[in-house]
């Protein structure tokens, strides 16, 4: 089955999903994510004045329970790490919830960029959001220590951290020690032991720790989950998650670029966001001695060999976690949500540096330490499996989740395919959901080849408007396929979780202040968080599970082994971590 869809198939799949969600909502079966006009139980909707029977998604604020925000003061926040993702988060943040009072980065070019922004896309920049005098109002720091020294002067309450993976835990620790609530980007930390330290430290200090797996705050995923939970797909036995990119096109630098970049760190051979050129300005500000000073007292673990490793941290084995950490973690996070927040049973896979490398003559073709292709298979417990925690005893009930990521073909792009006995759901690029039903072999003709999917729409007509436009089609079919202009980014703030994730974080900060005392992660006798609605959706324990899933796959691939997940790894109180048994000895 080719997993790319024609425009008609997409239209059909989208209409099917909307129809299913709408039908369920009208039947009172989707109380949480969708609102129905004329339903008196939906107070929030009466305000909207929706016609009876009409269905709309509820707002993120309503769904995540913070619609009462009005009247609260924005939380004074500093953004640490103002690179690509910091730029997205700044662009997406809502100043009514988080007021940016300071930014901090060790690369001068990124400190400039966070103010100026980018002309297109989500990285709007602070100047655009706070006005031209943003540069005067918002303080800039070139180290975390200097920022934290000024925390009282700034009135700082919280930080958002978007720095390379190996710096997440030391920066989080310093901020917690300074009494600040922390929202730190994913992956949580470079090793599971370091994740456990972060969780325990936040608990000790009684502060919020939220990790940026934004799918936990996507209303689209929430809606998809509600539809899935009705069992429309039947028996789900397979999820196919993938994130394929093509970074194999040759890079060529203009004279102006050559003048801008520090050539001693090499120029990319291929156009590749993970192998960027190093700006001269950053190279000058960050010689190896300076990077050593900035390494939180442990350069081997928290530092960067040189500015090249800092800029290309994702392909470094100590600074990043490769494709599994950067891309796979999101989609496996989604897969475990889809399967009912279960942990996987086992993982095996093949990964390697199959494409990039250094030629015998010394030519560096975007060489790297991390794998450039990963092909991983997870076994997850199905609903009747003993490990699903629903009292089942069927050890054969296993759902196979495959994850693939590579750098040399992007025909299929990225998304998650959930394959059930009655239908398929495709979650595409965090932006669209499609639903397709399986052909029903008990119905005459339904099993025949060819697109059986009927799309139904209802719309206005008459009033003198033509009901149809007659045109010609080619030799009994075909016609011109009209597709969207290439390269138009699919960016919808409402369905991306970033904004909501930060708004909810700010809401939690204020609610704990109201309540007084330390943030509590206490659990009830059933193991549920007592204060779940005022704790981040992706708190440390949830995020650590994502890190375990991603990083254990790396270990399985490195040793070409099937690794069985152990319950103790997922328990923050236990010192057991997968690395003890499964990590390859560092050379």
């Amino acid at each position: 089955m080719a997993l790319d869809l024609t425009p008609e198939q997409k239209a059909t799949g989208k209409a099917n999903f909307d129809q299913a969600a709408g039908d369920l909502a009208r039947g009172g079966k989707m109380k949480d994510t969708m609102a129905v006009g004329g339903d008196p139980t939906r107070r929030d909707l009466l305000k909207v004045g929706l016609a009876a029977g009409a269905v709309v998604p509820v707002s993120a604020a309503v769904y995540f329970g913070y619609e009462s925000w009005k009247g609260n003061k924005a939380v004074k926040t500093a953004f640490i790490g103002t690179g690509d993702e910091g730029g997205v988060l700044v662009g997406e943040h809502n100043p009514e919830f988080n007021e940016v009072v300071a930014v901090c980065d060790i690369r001068p070019t990124n400190l400039d960029r966070i103010f100026k922004g980018e002309p297109n896309g989500p990285r709007k920049g602070l100047d655009k959001i706070y006005g031209a005098d943003a540069e005067k109002k918002i303080a800039r720091y070139d180290s975390v220590e200097k920022l934290l020294a000024d925390k009282d002067k700034l009135g700082l309450e919280a930080v958002v951290i978007a720095t390379p993976l190996n710096t997440h835990d030391p920066i989080t620790r310093l901020c917690l020690d300074a009494g600040l609530h922390v929202l730190c980007e994913k992956l949580m930390a470079r090793t599971i032991g370091r994740c456990k330290d972060m969780i325990r430290h936040a608990q000790d200090k009684g502060l919020l720790l939220s990790i940026g797996h934004q799918r936990h705050y996507s209303t689209l995923y929430a809606q998809a989950m509600e539809v899935l939970n009705t069992g429309v797909l039947g028996d789900i036995k397979h999820i196919r998650a993938l994130w394929h990119r093509n970074n194999s096109w040759l890079y060529s630098a203009s004279e102006a670029e050559k003048a801008k970049y520090a050539l001693e760190y090499g120029l990319p051979y291929y156009i590749d966001g993970w192998w960027k050129p190093v700006p001269k300005e950053d190279a000058k500000a960050l010689p190896p001695e300076r990077l050593k000073e900035l390494a939180f007292g442990n350069p081997a673990v928290y530092g960067f060999r040189d500015v090249g490793e800092l800029v290309r941290w994702r392909i470094s084995n100590t600074a990043g976690g490769g494709l599994m950490a950067e891309l796979g973690s999101h989609q496996l996070d989604a897969s475990s949500i889809i399967l009912g927040h279960v942990h996987p049973l086992a993982v095996s896979g093949v990964g390697g540096k199959f494409f990039y490398g250094t030629d015998p003559d010394g030519k560096n073709r975007n060489d790297r330490e991390s794998d450039d292709g990963v092909f991983v298979t997870y076994e997850f417990p199905g609903p009747t499996h003993p490990k699903a925690g629903k009292g089942g005893k069927n050890a054969d009930d296993v759902v196979v989740v495959t994850y693939t990521s590579m750098n040399t073909n992007e025909f299929e792009s990225y998304g998650e395919w959930v394959m059930g006995s009655k239908g398929t759901m495709f979650l595409e690029k965090e932006a669209n959901v499609y639903l397709f039903r399986e052909k029903d072999k008990t119905k005459k003709g339904d099993a025949a080849a060819g697109g059986r999917d009927t799309k139904v729409t209802v719309g206005g007509a008459g009033g003198g408007k033509p009901a149809l436009e007659a045109t010609s089609t080619w030799g009994g079919g075909g016609g011109a396929a009209i597709s969207k202009a290439a390269g138009s980014p699919e960016w919808d703030t409402a369905v991306r979780g970033y904004r909501t994730e930060m708004e909810h974080f700010a809401y939690c900060v204020r609610r704990w202040q109201e309540q007084g005392g330390k943030v509590s992660y206490e659990k009830d006798e059933k193991g549920k968080l007592k204060y779940a609605d005022i704790l981040p959706r992706c708190h440390g324990e949830v995020a650590m599970a994502d890190a375990i899933v991603a990083l254990t796959a790396n270990m399985a691939m490195a040793k070409r082994e099937r690794i069985v997940f152990e319950d103790a790894w997922f328990d923050p109180k236990s010192d057991e971590v997968p690395e003890t048994k499964h990590a390859r000895k560092q050379a």
């Binding site: 697109g451 206005g460 009033g463």
Partner: protein, 327 residues
Amino acid sequence: MLDLLFPPADAPAEFTLVRASRRAMATTFEVAVPAGTHPDPVAAATAALDLIDDLEDQLTVYRDHSEVSRLNAAAADAPVPVEPQLYELLARCAGWTRETDGAFDVATGALIRAWGFLRREGRVPAAKTLSAAMSRTGFRHVVLDPDGRAVKFRVAGLEINLGAVGKGYALDRAARLLRDGWGVSSALLHGGGSSAYAIGRPPGEPRGWPVRLRHPTDPDASLGTVYLRDRGLGTSAATFQFFEYNGRKLGHLLDPRTGWPAAGTASASVAAGTAAEADAMSTAAFVLGPAGTETLTRLKPALAAVVLADPPALTALNLDPDSYTAP
């Protein structure tokens, strides 16, 4: 645009249309039923679309197991009995070929193949290939046996290709099912916009279902609006595919009489009692051009046509003001 924004006071009523669509025959088929005119429009439309799928499976030359593919493979050796309604369709095609002096012909599979149009990659065939294909082209080489409802080809290599009538025929059958099997009294059915059939009329519009004729090259322009009531409409145009050869633009619609792509017509729409006939006649009208189409409509007064010549000149034939408004 303006007249749509500000409809005149006596404008026809607005109503709600339930549309069901599905891919078939390499295009999108759609059945539209006004809400309130039938208790279960989606079920009715689904049944109609199911029937169209079944007919595709019977008529297509793109699947080896289809009845038409099997007929093409065997009819040169011995008479092949065919399903009664397919036989009837072939008999009607024979009549249309006579009426149009060969401008419409379904026994042109060999020719279509020689030009590469079967795989949608047009190329000018070598003279030898073309004359070989021409010797295997034309319904005059097809013998129909009404008693045994059997078909025999007089030459080997002849191929029936129902591309020019298949969509219309499928719509006629679907319309009959909707009317007789489901009691649908008002609906518009079409396949990719190029073939359409109207059952009854929409609410508040006595003239019938309004169908705008799209200009073949200018997306903002129109060739007028026709109103259909219990009639079919077919449109043939060289809109989407053509290729250049010695400075000539060649379209994909072949003139079975010469073996070359037809020239001189930009678009031809024909309304007729059935969608199959409308399809066949629009193909003929495209091949014949405005003058030939005028002769055809004089011979067959039940046909109505709108033909745009190339270079442009618009001719409307047999259309009264109640069934056509000019652009």
